[in-house]
């Protein structure tokens, strides 16, 4: 007994190793459950497996070595010798990783594995040579051949150990709506244990039955879809509805199923739009909050806000490179290399680079802000509209500096692994990176509010903002407070840029994309008012998404949002929240 268990495990491991490539090629990183192990064991550990494997291998060898015009036929014939070992070979062939080498006068097909290892097709042995000979050419494929391969690969996928792959394969088979596939699916239904795949098989059977000549079967399939309401069935049901010859009963059932699906799509879209609206709103908030301080509170029309933001993005990039393999820069014709820590990209420390770069982005942008304030802006507090000109000049210079230091191309920021992927709840996709940005927006907001409302510095900032000269008379060093406030606003912009690196691109002129939006958010919210900024960011974000989904046209949506803001300001000329003032010239 013990012997048997050990034996089975050994076998199991060898199979597992064999499937490894297959797993990776399907980018399926789902952990196999214990159930799966049992399944694999049951399926392939049978006594005649060796035999079937070798016959499959010889069949594909024959196909590979056959003349080109015969290959498609022979590949299709592999259906009689289906075995999992065929998968990696066919895929390698398709992708140009199959070579025929002349080994001691014998033509020997080998495949190149993703780790560049070479493996014999004949018996899966690794070749001792590390590199392909110079003259090796991958075996060509034609369209016809690739179609044949696809069919075999699809059939193989039906027996794949990964339930996800099986689920997809089953659905794909169903989508073809070929009545001849029904027996296969019925057989699979008996064998299948995984609940999700079982449902998929039922869906697939119903999909095919939609094509059935028998009205009752058709109606049964339709009522199945009425209950399940899967979005993928929509096209097929639409096809039925488009057919004018169907009986009223079928039409009725089809209509019902269609309604159920449309209802599902509606709710998916509805909740999706809500989430996307909040997500876009929080992006806008993050982008605008720094501006709400430098422009809203301090009155500096900071056209360089976008560029200060992008400094944050570049910071993330630099930190990412320093954690990894280092960074080579060549500003103004000098090249130099910054050595990296060489951390393993999978390690926790490397994965934390993004979190670590956030405070650094804040600091660096804040320092740049401080320099700008001390060097230029401080002379312009009496002439706020001229800050627009000066900061625009700054923005031109910064853009060109980015270009000269980091090159004209955008820089690639890779999101850490824990921020890639998404929650999917009932079809509503919620990406981790977006959830993170929403969360970050909230944190930034609370932090800003605490700083302004609950700290002595915040008190000073508010004092200086409200009445510079009085504050100065009361012994407040207004210069210092201004510098700190501007630095704080710039720092927030830097954090925004760092967060944007998760969602979009960072490049020399990226800042320009956000500047109009940022100003609109602040102006709509009411200049000098954080609560208004929050409300207007979320409002614009949601409105934009609603218009996008209802007009199916992002451009017109954006135009309408802009026009809407213009009209809204007719009604409330100083934004959602107004600070009233009673001195004459500030009305």
């Amino acid at each position: 007994m013990a012997q048997l268990i050990i034996n089975s495990f050994l076998k199991l491991f060898s199979y597992f190793a064999q499937f490894n490539y297959y797993f990776l090629s399907h980018r399926s990183l789902v952990l196999s459950s214990l159930l799966l192990f049992v399944l694999v064991f049951q399926l392939y550990a049978s006594s005649d497996d060796q035999l079937r494997q070798s016959s499959a291998r010889s069949a594909i060898l024959k196909a590979i070595l056959a003349p080109e015009e015969k290959q498609p036929e022979l590949v299709e014939a592999l259906a009689q010798n289906l075995h999992p070992v065929l998968g990696p070979i066919l895929e390698a062939w398709q992708k140009g990783d199959l070579f025929i080498l002349d080994l001691n006068g014998k033509l020997t097909p080998v495949i190149r594995l993703p780790d560049s290892q070479l493996q014999l097709v004949e018996n899966a042995q690794s070749l001792p040579i590390a590199q392909l000979p110079e003259n090796a050419r991958p075996l060509e494929t034609t369209g016809k051949l690739r179609r044949a391969m696809r069919i075999i690969l699809d059939q193989l996928a039906l027996a794949d150990p990964s339930p996800e792959i099986r689920e997809n394969a089953v659905l794909k088979l169903g989508m073809r709506q070929n009545l001849q596939s029904l027996p296969i699916l019925e057989r699979l239904k008996e064998q299948e244990e995984h609940p999700k795949v079982k449902i998929a098989i039922l869906d697939a059977i119903s999909l095919i039955n939609l094509n059935s000549p028998d009205t009752t079967t058709k109606i049964k399939a339709l009522s199945h879809f009425e209950a399940r309401a899967p979005i993928f069935a929509r096209d097929s049901i639409q096809k039925i509805l488009a057919d004018s010859s169907i009986s009223p009963a079928v039409r009725d059932a089809a209509n019902k199923a269609m309604k159920a699906i449309e209802r599902r799509i509606f709710w998916t879209d509805f909740f999706g739009t809500v989430f996307r609206g909040i997500s876009l709103g929080s992006v806008l908030l993050v982008v605008a909050i720094g501006l709400a301080i430098t422009f809203g509170l301090m009155g500096i029309i900071n056209m360089a806000h976008g560029e200060i933001m992008i400094i944050g993005g570049y910071t993330v990039f630099v930190v990412q490179c320093l954690f990894g393999t280092g960074l080579a820069l060549a500003p103004f014709g000098f090249s130099f290399n910054l050595p990296g820590l060489g951390l393993d990209p999978a390690s926790n420390l490397y994965q934390a680079y993004f979190l670590i770069s956030l405070p650094i982005a804040f600091l660096i942008s804040a320092i740049v802000g401080l320099i700008l304030e001390r060097g230029i802006i401080q002379f312009l507090y009496q002439r706020p509209l001229e800050t627009l000109l000066a900061t625009w000049g700054i923005s031109l210079i910064l853009q060109q500096l980015f270009r000269l230091i980091f090159g004209p191309a955008n820089i690639p920021v890779t999101a850490p692994a824990w921020l890639t992927g998404s929650y999917v709840v009932e079809g509503v996709i919620m990406n981790y990176n977006r959830i993170f940005v929403i969360f970050a927006a909230f944190v930034i907001l609370v932090a800003t509010w605490l700083l302004l409302a609950r700290t002595p510095l915040g008190l000073l900032i508010r004092a200086v903002i409200q009445d510079r000269s009085t504050a100065a008379c009361m012994g407040v060093s207004t210069g210092k407070v201004n510098s700190l406030t501007f630095a704080f606003g710039s720092g927030l912009a830097g954090v925004a840029g760092a967060l944007l690196a998760l969602l979009g691109n960072i490049g020399p002129s990226t800042g320009q994309t956000y500047i109009v939006d940022a100003f609109m958010v602040v102006v709509l919210g009411g200049v000098g008012n954080l609560a208004g900024t929050v409300l207007s960011a979320l409002g614009i974000g949601t409105l934009d998404q609603i218009l996008q989904i209802s007009l199916r046209n992002p451009v017109i949506g954006k135009v309408l949002v802009l026009v809407g803001i213009i009209l809204f300001l007719q009604w409330k000329p100083s934004g959602l929240f107004t600070i009233r003032s009673r001195s004459l010239d500030e009305g």
Binding site: T273, A409, N410, S422, Y432, N505, Q545, P554
Partner: protein, 420 residues
């Protein structure tokens, strides 16, 4: 009085700037007209680099007709009227016999009248939408049937049945998608399987196919959700003509939403290796590209070209040039090929005169075996060349999946597929 003196001062300043410096004997000046600042600098700077490399290479091996090439590099600053002004300056003041330049269609359109008026010669080396044929422009890059339709052929071969068209809101994507719409219909794809939306005018003519986003669009949540629904019933793919910048948020959103290249491959017509430098390629693995050249192309010409170019970059004396992490890509190689095509034509004509060079180019005998294979300039001002389909790898290179041999360019495609 002050104004007058100022204006005359300015006039003198302009004169001083544009009066050519005393040239040595046997020099031919050629114009390079690309955006080195502004939004398009991201793509166009690389073309300037490769052009300067080609000139150096030619100068080293004796020049053209015994003349050394002296490039006049001009910054179009992503500003289209400025492009026209600079083209005028190159042709009227510097009297260059040839200009290599432009990236966007609109920049080409803005300089076109200038070239026609002054009978200049422009080599344009970026894939474009066709529907244009100027006697003064030679188009050395991919026409729509050398890029987009082969890509569709490949996808059809792979059994794709639903096509989602997505692009930036400007003329290249719009035109390409209209042509593709006709092409797909002619291949028997039902119109409801073409995603992104159709817009018709009051008479029912389709005036726009596909989904368009404004330049610099960053929020693709809604569009990716739509693609996910579109792809739910299987065998779908996306034909992506989004321009430069916006690809990053698109692919980030696409990857994060769980859509894979297996399920729904994206074939991008505006993304080459050069753009990949600024994309997180992790998110693009398995997606497709279609170009007349891939850096991974394994030919002796390409190997030599890459070696020489990277060697040249190390020492090139060009302000602000990037020396690190450089790659080569189709527009770069086709720019490079343009220079050699021009050289060949000049040598055949035995003169720099535009009319003679044009006649030589139109003879159909001007060829260049370049890094991308053989380029033949045809009478229709476009080049015949190979087209490749490639799959993105994690290192930002393409793995070549398919090669279409010596595709004959056809600039005017609209309306041709459905008539057949």
């Amino acid at each position: 009085m002050k104004i007058k003196s100022l204006i005359s001062f300015l006039a003198i300043a302009i004169f001083a700037a544009i009066i050519p410096s005393f040239a040595a004997d046997k020099v031919v000046k050629v114009g390079v007209l690309h955006s080195l600042s502004g939004t398009m600098a991201i793509s166009e700077t690389s073309l300037r680099d490769v052009l300067l490399f080609a000139f150096d290479e030619i100068n080293k091996s004796g020049g053209v007709l015994g003349h050394k090439i002296e490039p006049i590099v001009v910054d179009g600053a992503s500003n289209w009227p400025l492009f026209a002004e600079k083209a005028k300056e190159l042709l009227e003041v510097h009297k260059v016999p040839v200009v290599f330049g432009c990236w966007t269609s609109v920049s080409r359109k803005s300089v076109l009248p200038v070239f026609e008026k002054n009978n200049g010669l422009l080599f344009y080396a970026v894939q474009y939408e066709g529907e244009e044929l100027s006697p003064n422009i030679f188009y050395t890059a991919e026409a729509v049937n050398q890029q987009a339709t082969p890509a569709v052929d490949y996808l059809l071969e792979m059994g794709r049945k639903k096509f989602y068209l997505l692009g930036s809101d400007y003329v290249y994507p719009q035109t390409t998608n209209l042509i593709l719409l006709e092409y797909l219909l002619s291949k028997g794809i039902p119109i409801e399987n073409i995603g992104g939306g159709l817009r018709k005018d009051s008479k029912g003519n389709v005036i726009s196919a596909g989904k368009y986003v404004p330049f610099g669009h960053t929020d693709f949540q809604q569009i990716v959700a739509e693609i996910k629904q579109f792809a739910a019933s299987g065998d779908a793919c996306v034909i992506n003509t989004i321009n430069g910048d916006s690809n990053v948020p698109f692919f980030k959103e696409f990857a994060a939403s769980g859509l894979t290249a297996e399920e729904c491959p994206v074939v991008s017509l505006s993304l080459s290796e050069d753009e990949f430098r600024s994309l997180p390629t992790k998110d693009l693995v398995g997606h497709l590209g279609a170009w007349a050249y891939f850096m991974s192309l394994d030919t002796p010409e390409n190997k030599k070209f890459k070696e020489n170019f990277f060697e040249w970059l190390k020492t090139a004396n060009v302000p602000g040039i990037e020396r690190q992490n450089r790659v080569t890509c189709s527009p770069m190689v086709l720019s490079y090929s343009s220079v050699y095509l021009w050289k060949a034509a000049v040598e055949k004509a035995g003169s720099f005169e535009v009319d003679k060079v044009r006649a030589a180019l139109e003879s159909g005998e001007i060829t260049f075996l370049g890094p991308n294979g053989l380029n033949t300039m045809l009478k229709n001002h476009h080049t015949k060349k190979n087209v490749y389909i490639g799959e993105t790898k994690a290192d930002g290179q393409f793995k070549i999946l398919r090669q279409f041999e010596q595709v004959v360019p056809e600039p005017f495609l609209k309306g041709t597929f459905l008539k057949k």
